[in-house]
Symmetry: C2
Subunit: 97 residues, 2 copies
Amino acid sequence: MIRHVVMFTWKPEATEEQREAVAAGLAELPGAIPQIRRYEYGPGMNPGNKDFVLVADFAGPEDFVVYRDHPAHRAFIERCVEPIAEDLARAQYRLPG
Amino acid sequence: MIRHVVMFTWKPEATEEQREAVAAGLAELPGAIPQIRRYEYGPGMNPGNKDFVLVADFAGPEDFVVYRDHPAHRAFIERCVEPIAEDLARAQYRLPG
């Protein structure tokens, strides 16, 4: 299993409506991209840390690449995330077992 | 359930031995801190992204604080992580369900 982790901060100009559109858009992706095994995301709880986190699990690196390059995922990032996210941190790692 | 996520980059001067001591130190913590429910960590797979990731789950915010402030955890961070980690990103979020 491969885990993909993304965290970012909201830009100061991000509206509440735009922030909600990120969670709403993420909720659609597992239905569109069957390679997603687990998909757990939400707003950060502690000021001074990152504002939003996504943890996504895949059967293997190939499935992660299908997800990464999937048109539904790319469109979501361009439309909902890039306009209001900054200081984005990401990594992929192999889950034990 | 509360999830705590940390990612960082190795400093250029980090040795292989020091990097391995991070994973070895993390392996000890669930035995020392029973508040840890799940603890999944490893080196990042893709250059240009973060070099190391930890995802830790707790029953609630109080358990996370016990972990965060636990002497075994603080000693591990001071001894093993701070000397060789930079660009650290972290967040906590509430898992659904």
